[in-house]
């Protein structure tokens, strides 16, 4: 007995027969009536293909909607199911609730921890269960039974529904008489057993239509396993009619034998074509060529099938555009979401990461693009770096006050923005609290609310319990669009070429099908069952289930994927093309192999049985194809750019205006700091960027503590405090006595300790500072006694140093300590002191002369001499004896200033940047600059300035 009036159930063997035998007549039958007619097809791929077929055959339609099961469901369902992301949130917080009372070492924690790390799979398993009539109680593990039982209860208690359970109820229960139907006529193209998950949903639709026709894949073609039969049985039982085959002859041409090579059966590779390219990008070119060629041969409906929206897809879409081939893209090209949404995602990161500087910086440019922040990203980075250097911590919250109170405008701007974003979140809070915090910030930043957000608000209203902040943030993230629509060619049009996926290509009649990326490991995907509902359990449940629809096992899924490909080949008229690559640019060391289908096709074609079968044959096939670039006629032309590129790398050519030179001399620095001089002599590239161009590099690596540098800074700071006495004249003061200095040092150190957290790390840090500072104070008082001193004093006004051909150069700099016999420079006898708390640096006239080591100190002394003083310069290190250069040796020591003079006089700087070691690097060039070896630079330097670069040898390192 038919339970639904006007019911038909068909079995389809070929998409083409299905179209002629059922679909087209069904569509035409309703013509001219204002009736609600719905066609449901498994995916957007099939709905699109049906429409395209209507267009090709001139079948125009009114009142017919083509829907996927998901969209069709919305026609029926009033009550929204609880979204997956919110289900995960509920589950996560249930797990946390269980973990909370347990000791960290309690073995009972273990399973919950594992489950929390793999909750997505467990939820997938639960959905699998629910879709075919099982319940939480069917999980083999008690914990999962309990957890998902709670989920179901929670959902019911809070007035939500779970999609699969609702579908099942609606699909099984008869419809109340007199209720409004969803449609007058419905045609359901249900496909094969791979659509088992949609069964109840479709059944519910069928029940709510005045007339219904259903088309299923014929089981004989569904392949082995019998699930095809059960699929048909289920529909027969539901509709109460016998299924009947479509009464149409099979199409004359089919590529079915190509697939049979893979799925088992006689098989033949006659209608198969193989493309093996050298690399993945070459593969794209060959596929695009093949499409053009096939179109030329008269192909009228080509499917190019991708495993997903990947790089190959993006590349081929672009190549089709370049070649002017119209195409429909059903794979989908994603674009960036709107800035508002990106900012909100970045906010989620910010709170989830504990309000750190890194995430604040990631937010910054986005905020700035909406004029919500004023500093440039580079300035923001600098400000953050300064803050980090000072506090040695990433967390913004603890230091926001410091930022706001600063007299540096950049710090205040950082503080202003940080204040808007803060406070950070507690570990646990209610969804309403979380939402309130998030929305308050969003409102303050005037960001748009994403579509669908009200559902979150409703959830927060219903769910009152505290939940883990991280889980809430993840749920928020799911409500923010990850991707944005993009206006790309091929979106949704009608065309002879369709870029699609397996799932979307099945059940459509094609003239040709190209399966790309037929490499092992790409597809078919090998899926491991999750550990929550393994294959064994699935098989056992299938034997005992309420319904004949089965839980898919991983073997079953693999077989389904093969069947899907086989179905596509069967519905393809002319040719199946399989393309693959020999290697991926990502990992050129790993040779790729053909996937199992391609392998069988190649074998059948005899391509693998030739001498040296297998890998070599695959390689040969690739080699037989010219590299795509060469065919595109990309022949190197001598261009100006390459000439410049080569000249810069030519060891036999001197530095010229293309290599850090200012031909006009207009940017010659008038004044340099001692630091700039020292680094510029070591590597003139530094001088070029820093002092000639005056551009500053912005670090991009994440903030990391540099203990040595922090200790050095701290030591310098406390020493300055300890040694600064009563003011005398200008920068000079009366040097305190040794005991007084000791007492002041002790006080400064105590102040310093109070600034850092009380833990062993800072204990140790502080001890190092204390030790170094005390040692250094001791050393200072061992130097020739002097009544006056100056700390962190600038070089005298108007001080100059001799720089060879360039005459004298004005210099600046800040010295750690100057001891003097009078409170001024002219006529004074001075000892200039530089502290070093670490590193290998030494001070000697010989080293300074040969390599420019510690030249900064030489400059100090020269500058002092130029101001009418006499004396020497000292390097003090806590663990070493004081080192000194006196005025008698200073001219010899400062020999390298002559080289500096040559740079200044000629305007040619060049570079001597050392080769980068695995852990060491010299001056860092702009990102765009590929390094040039030191040997080449030295040779060029020699050819430019004549003075040989000092003997450096290459570092030994392991290969």
């Amino acid at each position: 007995m038919k339970i639904i009036p006007g019911v038909d159930l068909f079995l389809s063997r070929f998409a083409d027969s299905e179209w002629h035998g059922v679909v087209r007549p069904w569509l035409e039958e309703g013509r001219g009536r204002l009736e609600r007619a719905i066609v449901v097809a498994p995916t957007r791929g099939q709905t699109h293909a049906l429409k395209q077929r209507c267009v090709v055959e001139g079948v125009s339609l009114l009142g017919v909607e083509f829907l996927t099961p998901g969209l069709a469901r919305k026609k029926r369902v009033q009550k929204e199911g609880l979204r997956r992301s919110l289900q995960l949130l509920v589950l996560q917080s249930r797990i946390e609730a269980r973990l909370a009372p347990l000791d960290p070492g309690d073995p009972a924690r273990r399973l919950w921890k594992s489950l929390a790390s793999d909750l997505g799979s467990a939820l997938d398993d639960f959905e699998d269960l629910a879709r075919v009539g099982f319940r939480p109680a069917d999980f083999p593990r008690a914990e999962l039974r309990e957890l998902f039982g709670e989920l179901v209860a929670w959902v019911g208690r809070h007035g939500y529904a779970l999609g699969p359970l609702e579908d099942e109820a609606a699909g099984l229960a008869p419809v109340a008489p007199g209720s409004e139907p969803v449609a007058d006529r419905i045609l359901i193209l249900a496909g094969g057993p791979e659509s088992w998950g949609d069964f109840f949903g479709l059944a519910a639709l069928a029940r709510r239509s005045r007339s219904v026709a259903v088309v299923l894949a014929e089981p004989e073609f569904g392949g082995a396993g019998g699930s095809g039969e059960e699929w048909v049985d289920a529909w027969q039982a539901l509709l109460g009619v016998e299924a009947r085959p479509i009464d149409r002859p099979d199409p004359e041409e089919s590529c079915a034998p190509v697939a049979e090579l893979w799925t088992g059966g006689a098989g033949s590779a006659e209608r198969a074509e193989v493309i093996v390219a050298r690399s993945k990008s070459d593969e794209g070119d060959h596929v695009a060529d093949a499409v053009v060629r096939l179109l030329g041969e008269g192909a009228d409906n080509i499917a190019v099938i991708f495993p997903g929206a990947d790089a190959a897809h993006a590349r081929i879409a672009r190549l089709m555009e370049e070649r002017g081939v119209p195409f429909t893209d059903l794979v989908g090209t994603a674009g960036t979401p709107p800035v508002d949404a990106r900012i909100q995602s970045a906010l989620v990161d910010f709170y989830g990461g504990g309000c750190r500087l890194e995430e604040l910086l990631a937010l910054w440019p986005l905020l700035r693009s909406l004029n919500l922040a004023r500093l440039s990203p580079a300035d923001a980075r600098v400000a953050c770096q300064e803050l980090f250097d000072e506090v040695q911590a990433h967390c913004v919250e603890a230091h926001v006050g410091r930022l706001e109170a600063s007299d540096d405008a950049r710090w205040r701007e950082m503080g202003r923005v940080a204040r808007i974003l803060l406070p950070g979140w507690p570990d646990h809070l209610t969804a309403a609290d979380a939402l309130g915090r998030f929305e308050a910030v969003r409102d303050q930043l005037m960001l748009a609310e994403p579509a669908g957000w009200p559902a979150l608000r409703e959830f927060a209203r219903r769910a009152a319990e505290p939940m883990p902040a991280r889980a809430i943030l993840e749920a928020f993230r799911a409500f923010l669009p990850e991707r944005g629509p993009v206006s790309a060619q091929g979106r949704g049009g009608f065309a002879r070429v369709t870029l699609t996926t397996c799932r979307r290509a099945a059940g459509v009649a094609w003239s040709d099908a190209i399966f790309v990326e037929a490499n092992t490991g790409v597809w078919p995907e090998r899926r491991e069952p999750s550990c929550w509902l393994g294959d064994e359990t699935r098989r056992r449940l299938n034997e005992s289930g309420r319904f004949s629809l089965g839980l898919p096992t991983s073997d079953g899924r693999a077989a389904q994927e093969r069947r899907l490909c086989a179905a596509i080949a069967r519905d393809t008229r002319r040719k199946v093309v399989l393309s693959a690559a020999l290697f991926s640019e990502e990992d050129p060391e790993v040779r790729l192999g053909p996937n199992s289908w391609l392998e069988r096709v190649m074998w059948s074609k005899g391509l693998l049985s030739a001498d040296g079968a297998g890998t070599e044959a695959f390689e040969r096939l690739a080699a037989a194809r010219p590299a795509a670039g060469a065919r595109r006629g990309l022949v190197p032309q001598p261009v100006e750019w390459f000439e410049i590129w080569s000249r810069r790398r030519d060891p036999d050519r001197p530095f010229d205006e293309f290599f850090l030179a200012d031909a006009s001399g207009a940017r010659r620095p008038r004044r340099l700091s001692a630091r700039q001089i020292e680094s510029g002599v070591k590597d003139p590239a530094q001088l070029w960027f820093d002092a000639v161009l005056r551009v500053r590099r912005v670090e991009w690596r994440s903030f990391a503590r540099n203990r040595g540098k922090s200790i050095g800074d701290a030591v310098h700071r406390v020493l300055a405090e300890a040694l600064r006495g009563a003011p005398a004249e200008g920068d000079f003061f009366r040097l305190p006595g040794r005991d007084a200095a000791g007492a002041r040092l002790a006080a400064a150190l105590a102040d310093l300790r109070a600034k850092w957290p009380r833990d062993r790390y800072w204990d140790s840090f502080h001890m190092d500072v204390c030790r170094a500072a005390r040692e250094l104070v001791g050393r200072v008082y061992e130097l020739p006694a002097a009544p006056f001193g100056a700390v962190e004093a600038g070089l005298p006004e108007g001080a100059t140093v001799p720089v060879g051909d360039a005459g004298r150069l004005a210099v600046s700099g800040r010295m750690d300590l100057v001891l003097s016999d009078r409170p001024g420079w002219n006529g004074a006898r001075v000892e200039i002191i530089d502290y070093k708390t670490g590193g290998e640096s030494k001070l000697s006239a010989r080293r300074m002369a040969s390599s420019g080591a510690s030249l900064q100190l030489g400059v100090y002394l020269q500058a002092a001499l130029s101001a009418g003083a006499a004396g020497s310069v000292w390097m003090l290190k806590p663990e070493e004896r004081p080192m000194r250069i006196g005025q008698e040796e200073i001219d010899v020591a400062c020999a390298k200033l002559g080289t500096l003079g040559a740079h200044l006089a000629t305007g040619v700087y060049g570079a001597l940047t050392p080769d980068r070691g695995e852990y060491t690097h010299g001056f860092e060039w702009p990102l765009a600059c590929a390094p040039i070896g030191l040997a080449i630079l030295e040779s060029k330097f020699f050819r430019t300035f004549g003075s040989p670069a000092a003997g450096r040898s290459r570092d030994e390192d392991h290969g």
Binding site: S117, P365, R625, A935
Partner: protein
């Protein structure tokens, strides 16, 4: 008739005896991978074997090798199937069921399958061993409190050492060592320095006066003073180093501080262990795993007996390739799971336990090629091999036949390498266990090579090098190597590749043990005009020009105010001269990037090119893949890459990076995310360089493992291969399973240092073996008779009498080696491929006509109709737009849904009931008030009255697919269609929920809506008219806000 190799019997056994555990000691070039493949193929071809394959794990150390063996196995199987004339593909499916992968991935699989009851994180994030960012993050959040030392002990440790001394050790410690160290608490009080030694120091006398003498005086003072402070004060007191070396002061200092340093080492070890265990917990909590963690996680599962038995119960059969590279922990996991149920953990091969079940554990390896002592432990491998050799757990087979090495080289190596591996060399021996006892031989045995039946005679020749004087204080070795390389290069350049027996330049490989040496060789070869392909395993990403260009370009696109990066882009990508750049910058180093016209031509042109990309960096709906391609195209990067590297290596890099961008873009990432991705990997390393037919290969001996070339030329044989001693707090050995920690190098005893050096030399011998066994045709040894080999050079280790080598013959000999080149002519398959590609084939059929355009009416309107778009089939799976605030999308959808199933003809009660159920939904969505208001407004409106008229047949949500003009079809859905057949009248109504903008009144609002959506509605009318011929169609736009409608497009 093919001759069989002499070890064929062993090979057959390995192929066919699946019920036996077999270990294979395989010489270089003996076809290890092929042997495993043959075994697997044989299994796949038999029904019984197939059963086993489902539980077979073929594992090896590297990803590359794992991929290779998987493919090799299939190739061999296909070969066998072809031989058998079979057309049944079933064996291929059987082979599909075996697991091929790295040991790490296998451990991950075990952990994922079985770890849930152990709290294992099932979706870990993998980081490199020693990853620093992670460690830094851990350090910052750690409470930095230690319970393993008392406060006094802690104070003592910190007094003499900085806490960060323990960090290096803590970061690297493995679980076992950490646990063992944690138990080794130091005594409560630290011993002071030895006062007896102080006496010796004070008594030391310098040999002569001078700087040494005064340093000695200072050393005495320092020591005395130090001891005083130690006893009297409590200030921080680091341990000083001796100044100079006069009077054996270094040793005196070492002994003086030894007791204290010993204590500090123990204390540091305990602290490091505590921190290490905390780091571990922190990592696991976050699901962060290093490679070592993957193995440890699997190993930890096996500690649970029940779990161990369950995994054993699965019946895994393990085949381990390159077994000499597997570390002990990995061996443990693989061995334990293949042992029989009930076998006690850790009792085989050391211990009396029973070995793996028969047929469940096979391994193939070559101890002679063990060159990774930092991770693998050759002794552990030997222990397993020895067990098999003694019939304990299995049997040992030897494959001594090499199919690679030519006969002449085989003779040479067999005659000269035995010594290097033998007892005659001190470094091959360990220290005697007791006085007078014989020293144990620790080197692996040299297994003489046996040439395969088809191996050519080949060549082993000497290339004489003149030793030119090289002087100067620094870099002598570098310059001598350069000199050698120059001579080789000149010889090759003048005599051609054939002179060494290579058909092409690409058939020659220059090999050296150190990367830095190869750079020197490269410079010399390039100077001689030879093309080279330097292949490096570890090249910094940021140093690759293409990587650098793209990073720089993105940096300026994402932050155009960053002038520093602009300068890089201008000079490097656009080839602008630095002088011109300098002239373009403002006095503060700023660049007016947005005013191209204000700059010199090359700068302006470059800014013009890049300015649009600055705008796109934060654009919405920007496809990153497209952005990347556009950027590369605009700057001509592909062309530049080709010019700078004609071999195509840089183009590959460009393709790789563009693919990466597309990949990221598919997930919605934009240019900024790409920049971040690039920067994060800038300091990372990748293999780079690739072979080309006309370029000589340069490669390190380490990287050469597993590869072969027709001609190999090892360079720098005479050169000392030095090593750097590690420093700081560290473990120097594990004596009896107890890790020995030293505070610094003073703690390393002479014995220990000697043992280390010996082990290093043993490994260098093995590296030499690898180097010498890479040639398929000829080994060419450059030799300068006058140069004495340096200590610990390859030449010193190798017992080579260069006089015994033939000098390189005149070029005719080249032909011989050329014959060693395999697979040169593979014409048939290649031809077939070309044919099947059908390139340029005749065009047989007419091209199919172009398709009509598809028009989605919701895209026709001037303002997007998002509510409509969201409900259309064409947007399934497409990203949804963000609310634009003014006209909330959710509300629009709700309104349409409300109207779709409205009982138009029903009574008031039915309408009200429908309204209420919709309002409930609106309440959930948070817009009940608005919904109620506008719903009420509709019910009171004139349109409502008109639409409810009984004369109509009504249908809401009316799909229309129909031609629109000559070459387009419309594909849309009309909100409401009313048809009065009697009056011959059709109305089409469109619902709009748009809000007012500003102070718009009703008529302005309706006017705006009409203007915006008229196109859409007219299109509907045009199509609908085909279904309702001769029947005027009226178009209406109803505004929910106004509660009124307006007529659109006056006539049909």
């Amino acid at each position: 008739m093919v001759d069989l190799p002499t070890d064929q019997a062993a090979r057959d056994r390995f192929t066919n005896e699946w019920g036996v555990n077999l270990a294979v000691a395989a010489n270089a070039g003996s076809g290890k991978t092929t042997a495993i493949s043959e075994r697997l193929a044989a299994m796949a071809l038999s029904a019984a074997g197939a059963e086993m394959l489902g539980r077979t794990a073929v594992v090896t150390y590297t990803k590359k090798a794992a991929a290779q063996i998987g493919q090799r196995a299939r190739a061999v199987l296909l070969h066998r199937m072809t031989d058998a004339g079979s057309s049944d593909p079933a064996p291929l499916s059987r082979l599909d069921r075996a697991f091929f992968g790295t040991i790490h991935s296998f451990c991950l699989l075990l952990a994922r399958r079985h770890g849930s009851a152990h709290g294992v994180h099932l979706n870990p994030t993998l980081v490199d061993d020693g990853e620093d960012a992670c460690w830094q993050e851990f350090l910052e959040q750690d409470p930095m409190a230690f319970s393993s030392l008392s406060d006094t002990q802690m104070a003592c440790f910190l007094r003499h050492a900085a806490l960060d001394e323990i960090f290096g050790l803590a970061k690297e410690l493995n679980l076992g060592a950490a646990r063992r160290l944690a138990e080794r608490r130091p005594p409560d009080a630290a011993p002071g320095p030895s006062s007896a030694v102080l006496e010796e120091i004070l008594a030391a006398v310098p040999l002569r006066k001078g700087p040494g003498a005064s340093a000695l005086e200072r050393n005495k003072r320092t020591a005395r003073e130090w001891l005083r402070k130690h006893e009297e004060e409590s200030d921080p007191l680091p341990i000083p180093a001796a100044e100079g070396s006069a009077a054996g002061i270094r040793d005196l200092y070492r002994r003086f501080f030894a007791p204290l340093k010993g204590w500090l080492a123990d204390a540091g070890g305990v602290l490091a262990a505590e921190l290490s265990l905390r780091y571990r917990g922190w990592r696991f909590d976050r699901g962060i795993q290093t490679y070592a963690d993957q193995i440890e996680t699997a190993a930890a599962l096996l500690d649970d007996v029940e779990m161990l038995e369950r995994i054993r119960g699965e019946g895994w059969r393990v085949i381990l390739d390159e077994a000499q590279d597997a570390d002990p922990k990995q061996f443990d996991v693989l061995v334990e799971i293949s042992r029989p149920p009930g076998a006690a953990l850790g009792t085989w091969p050391s211990g009396a336990g029973i070995g793996p079940r028969a047929g469940h554990f096979c391994m193939v390896g070559d101890a002679q090629q063990a060159i990774y002592s930092t991770r693998a432990d050759i002794r552990n491998f030997q222990v397993h091999i020895d067990a098999f050799a003694n019939g304990n757990g299995g049997e040992l087979l030897t494959f001594d036949v090499t199919f690679r090495t030519p006969r002449r080289v085989v003779r040479l190596l067999n005659a000269t390498l035995g010594g290097a591996f033998g007892r005659g060399r001190a470094y091959n021996l360990g220290l005697p266990p007791s006085e007078g006892a014989p020293a144990p031989l620790l080197q692996v045995a040299y297994e003489p090579l046996v040439p395969g039946p088809a191996n050519p005679e080949g060549g082993a020749w000497m290339l004489p090098i003149t030793s030119n004087p090289v002087d100067g204080p620094h870099g002598v070795d570098d310059r001598r190597l350069a000199d050698e390389a120059r001579q080789i290069a000149r010889f090759l350049a003048s005599a051609g590749s054939g002179s060494v027996g290579a058909p092409a330049w690409g058939d020659i490989c220059i090999m050296a043990p150190r990367k830095a040496w190869l750079s020197i060789v490269r410079d010399e070869f390039e100077s001689a005009g030879l093309k080279i392909a330097l292949q490096m395993r570890r090249n910094r990403n940021g140093d690759n020009p293409v990587y650098a260009w793209l990073s720089g370009l993105l940096a300026v696109a994402c932050d155009p105010e960053n002038t520093f990066e602009w300068v890089g882009v201008l000079r490097e990508v656009f080839g602008v001269s630095d002088s011109v750049i300098a002239a373009s910058l403002g006095s503060n180093g700023d660049l007016s990037w947005d005013e191209p016209e204000g700059h010199a031509k090359p700068v302006g042109a470059a800014l013009d090119v890049l300015r649009p990309f600055v705008g796109r960096a934060d654009g919405e709906g920007e496809s990153l893949g497209r952005f990347a391609e556009d950027l590369a195209a605009a700057c001509g990067l592909a062309h530049m890459a080709r010019l700078a590297d004609p071999e195509g290596g840089l183009e590959d890099e460009l393709a790789r990076l563009l693919a990466r961008a597309a990949e990221l873009g598919a997930g919605g990432a934009g240019p900024r995310a790409w920049l971040r991705d690039l920067l994060e990997s800038t300091d990372g390393f990748r293999a780079s360089g690739r072979p080309a037919p006309d370029a000589i290969n340069l490669i390190t001996s380490h990287s050469a493992k597993g590869l072969e070339w027709p001609v190999v030329i090892p360079v720098g044989l005479w050169r000392t291969i030095s090593s750097r001693e590690p420093t700081g707090l560290r473990i120097v050995s594990e004596r009896g399973g107890v890790p020995e920690v030293v505070f610094d190098n003073d703690g390393v005893s002479e014995d220990a240092r000697d043992l280390y050096e010996r082990a290093r030399l043993r490994e260098l011998v093995r590296l030499l073996y690898v180097t010498l066994t890479r040639a398929r045709g000829a080994l060419v040894v450059p030799w300068a008779a006058q140069v004495a080999p340096g200590t610990n050079s390859f030449a010193e280790l190798w017992d080579l009498d260069p006089g015994g080598l033939d000098p390189l013959p005149a070029p005719s000999a080249g032909a011989q080696a050329a014959s060693a080149r395999k697979g040169a002519g593979a014409a048939p398959a290649a031809a077939q491929a070309a044919e099947s590609a059908g390139a340029g084939g005749p065009v047989s059929a007419a091209r199919a006509p172009a398709m009509p355009m598809r028009i989605l009416p919701h895209e026709l309107a001037r303002a997007p109709d998002q509510a409509r778009a969201a409900r259309h089939e064409s947007s399934v799976g497409e990203p949804s737009p963000v609310n634009d605030g003014a006209d909330p999308l959710d509300y629009g959808i709700w309104w349409h849904e409300t109207l779709e199933f409205l009982p138009w003809a029903g009574d008031l009660a039915a309408v009200a009931a429908h309204g209420e159920s919709s309002m409930a939904k609106a309440a959930e969505m948070g817009f009940e008030a608005r919904g109620r208001e506008e719903w009420g407004r509709l019910l009171e409106s004139e349109p409502w009255r008109l639409v409810r008229d009984a004369r109509w047949t009504r249908l809401a949500e009316v799909g229309v697919l129909a031609p629109l003009g000559a070459d387009a079809w419309i594909d849309g859905v009309m909100d409401l269609v009313l048809h009065d057949p009697n009056a011959r009248e059709v109305w089409i109504v469109d619902w709009k929920t748009n809000r007012r903008t500003g102070v718009e009144d009703d008529s302005a609002l309706l006017g705006r809506l009409a203007a915006d959506y008229e196109g859409q509605l007219r299109a509907y009318r045009q199509c609908a008219s085909a279904f309702f011929p001769d029947c005027p169609i009226t178009l209406w736009i109803y505004s929910t806000v106004a509660g009124a409608w307006t007529r659109v497009g006056s006539s049909s």
